[in-house]
Assembly symmetry: C2
């Protein structure tokens, strides 16, 4: 019998998250106050974040204990399986072995609850009763509304209007968890009302939805703001996936040669690869591969610079790979990868040459998704399919016997409209021209 899935028992689930910062060869550049351009004071963030998460954001400790109430909710779906993709290997004639870490098994269908549950918990411990957030395609909003319900908190989601209309199932599932969801721009914030006055039919943007959620949190005492990617503490929470993979590969008697994840804000990728950073820095030959869309090529064509996290220039300035905070990517079907920036931790590692990046067009990505589904059976999210495409290419290029591992960040069951467009041949392959990138980057502040 050939084994397919490598399972961990609940008692073997990691009990700490990993913080890569003390292990990095050079320190990261600090976030800056947008007004003074000096390193931002923690207190300034406390209007929208609880102190415990701000401490994690700034922490130099290598390990962060996972409180038992978070572990208890994790055990609804964790540890997640590591799966040997034998049928995919056979289909592509791979001499390498391919494994995927299946984070689609969570209630929200993606890796996002790993941080949503943690953020809801720490907020609740500090007396917060409601979390406000934005969501694009809806994965994050689903995860946070799930997490808030598990901890008996309220949740308000500002969902980019065009996605709200295109993906009605996302709004329904958020409501079924007891969350409230408003299409953004909404009439619930002054920034939303201002936009609606100018354009009552505005389709919204992620940057605007962030502004609405931040305003909501800043103006209500019982409410804080939660972000689903980019920030350091989010990446820390996601390392539980990579820590589990280490244990699972050990059980399988394997050493990884390539670790792969798709990158939007960078949290699922960071969560998988960063726990392997000590081995890499000690000289073990192991490649970290970040995969992004050609339509939003942050790591492959962006600039390492201080930039704003949102379009409205409300967030601290962050040193990261960016395409410019005003960049508006083409409407590709991987909504979760349409972010102009990249997590500072991931950006810093990229700048140090510790990872490599690849960009793909969406039709080749959906080809890979279909091949995966028709061999392994499961339907991936379009975002996840970027990692699958890269894993297939890496396996084809690999030496015989090498081990390729990718993070299966979520299922595509609420993305079937995108599959329909793909099957009908309606998807466009759009890249960003060098001229457009130059123009967008020219808006980055000079620091």
């Amino acid at each position: 019998m050939q084994q397919t899935k490598i399972l961990l028992e609940e008692k073997d689930m990691p009990t700490s998250w990993y913080n890569v910062m003390p292990d990095l060869p050079e320190p990261m550049a600090p976030p800056l106050d947008p007004e003074t351009k000096k390193p931002i004071a923690p207190e300034k963030l406390s209007a929208i974040f609880p102190m415990s998460l701000i401490e994690q954001e700034m922490s130099g400790e290598r390990w962060i204990d996972i409180p038992e109430p978070i572990q208890e909710i994790y055990r609804l779906y964790r540890p997640s399986p590591l799966v040997r993709a034998r049928r995919l290997e056979q289909a592509i004639g791979s001499k390498a072995r391919i494994y995927y870490k299946d984070e689609s098994v969570s209630p929200a269908g993606s890796h996002k609850p790993n941080t949503a549950v943690a953020q809801a918990y720490y907020n609740k411990m500090e007396g917060v009763r409601r979390l406000a957030t934005e969501t694009g395609a809806g994965q994050w909003g689903t995860a946070l509304s799930f997490a808030c319900k598990m901890l008996d908190m309220k949740c308000t989601v500002y969902m980019v209007r065009c996605s709200y209309d295109q993906k009605p199932y996302r709004g329904i599932i958020i409501r079924a968890y007891g969350g409230e969801v408003f299409p953004s721009p909404s009439r619930h914030t002054s920034v939303g009302r201002k936009v609606l006055e100018q354009d009552p039919n505005s389709g919204g943007s992620l940057g605007l939805a962030i502004s609405e959620a931040v305003e909501d949190a800043a103006q209500n005492n019982d409410t804080k703001y939660a972000l689903g990617s980019v920030l350091n503490h989010v990446i820390h929470h996601q390392t539980i996936t990579g820590l589990e993979v280490k244990k699972q590969l050990e059980i399988a008697g394997e050493t990884p040669d390539v670790l792969i994840g798709c990158v939007g804000g960078g949290s699922n990728f960071g969560g998988l690869v960063l726990p392997y950073m000590p081995e890499k820095l000690e000289g073990q030959k192991i490649r970290f591969m970040a995969v992004e869309p050609q339509a939003c090529p942050t790591l492959t064509k962006g600039r390492f610079a201080y930039d704003y996290g949102d379009m409205a220039r409300q967030t601290p300035l962050i040193k990261m790979y960016t395409l410019g905070h005003g960049y508006f990517p083409p409407p590709i079907h991987s909504g979760g990868l349409r972010y102009h920036g990249e997590a500072p931790i991931v950006s810093h590692a990229a700048k140090l040459g510790l990872l490599e990046a690849r960009a793909y067009f969406q039709n080749e990505v959906f080809d890979a998704a279909r091949l995966f589904m028709q061999t392994e059976g499961f339907l991936p999210a379009p975002e996840t399919a970027h990692a699958i495409k890269a894993a297939i290419d890496a396996a084809k290029e690999a030496d015989p016997g090498q081990v390729v591992v990718f993070l299966y960040s979520g299922h595509g069951l609420l993305d079937l409209g995108s599959y329909d467009a793909y099957l009908k041949g309606e998807l466009k392959d759009q890249a960003f021209s060098d001229d457009e990138i130059e123009k967008s980057l020219s808006e980055c502040p000079e620091i």
Copy 2:
């Protein structure tokens, strides 16, 4: 640490299916030829089924080996977890322990692949290249198209027109697996064309879709027909769930007091409870509880009689609980439970007093679904929610320390339109009046 999930290793997956027939205290009545009203000859079924499945249908052997190629595909998702629903227990103040067997983890999102993979395999072994089937809400069509792709076969699905229009994601996922799906009535069969001539806007029915699929199989040499429930061999294949539960409860040190499943055709319920029949017949106190909608109360208000399996009177006559083959249930949101009959094995066990049945209205069922989702995190299919409702009631009625187990037959991620209607208060609670039942039953043949 309190354990949540009881996992089996792949090496502990059952390698045989269980056939309850030799263990039943009385033999079942045979299916009859609709023309002669005599027991049907196996050859007569061979136009639409392969001989190996006809043999399983008639078999008196207690155990049927699961061929390794089927086990290999099962291992993509099996063994499935048995989960302790602690948070649900707490929410209802239960002194009983509640477990659920999670069959939503399959690629198709339900228990259906357990038989779809087996049926595709046996057909392929006999040279069949294509399977034709019908589907109502779409769970079965999704499962069979998945199974056919895994075995490199073609699949044609006739999907009831009104469901095809209401649930577009189902058609897309079937196509993404490489299957073809036609709204029924279609122009691909003579029976479909006939209906369309009379009513070009016909919404179709499950009975009509069966007729189209059977005609397709009977008229094409390379094609056979596959059915997703009701038949004996389908129930045998589903016993892998109950056999796994036995192993898992043993690991947990538990003895079940109540086993619960929803019933449409009866396959998920039969699969869970029948492996416990020997213990029950030996005197162990264990209740089997079948749960159905008030809108289609086959076991609670139907008659045990010979009746046709389809509306068009093409199938053999089957001794079963039935509401009459002409019964057209109200358009409740549990499409998988809208069948006028019940599996002969399940019906026979009910007639012998070996199981009990309960019927619920759909709003109380969705209330239970929402409570489950808001405590355990996962979104159940509306069909599955019937089992959840009964499990909650059974746990409340149970003595302290009793063990209630239900089969979580599928997720509801492609049923969010129904949740939307529920959340908006638009669902109607419809029951079938005794007069209507009498009228419908009067059409059963007199045998």
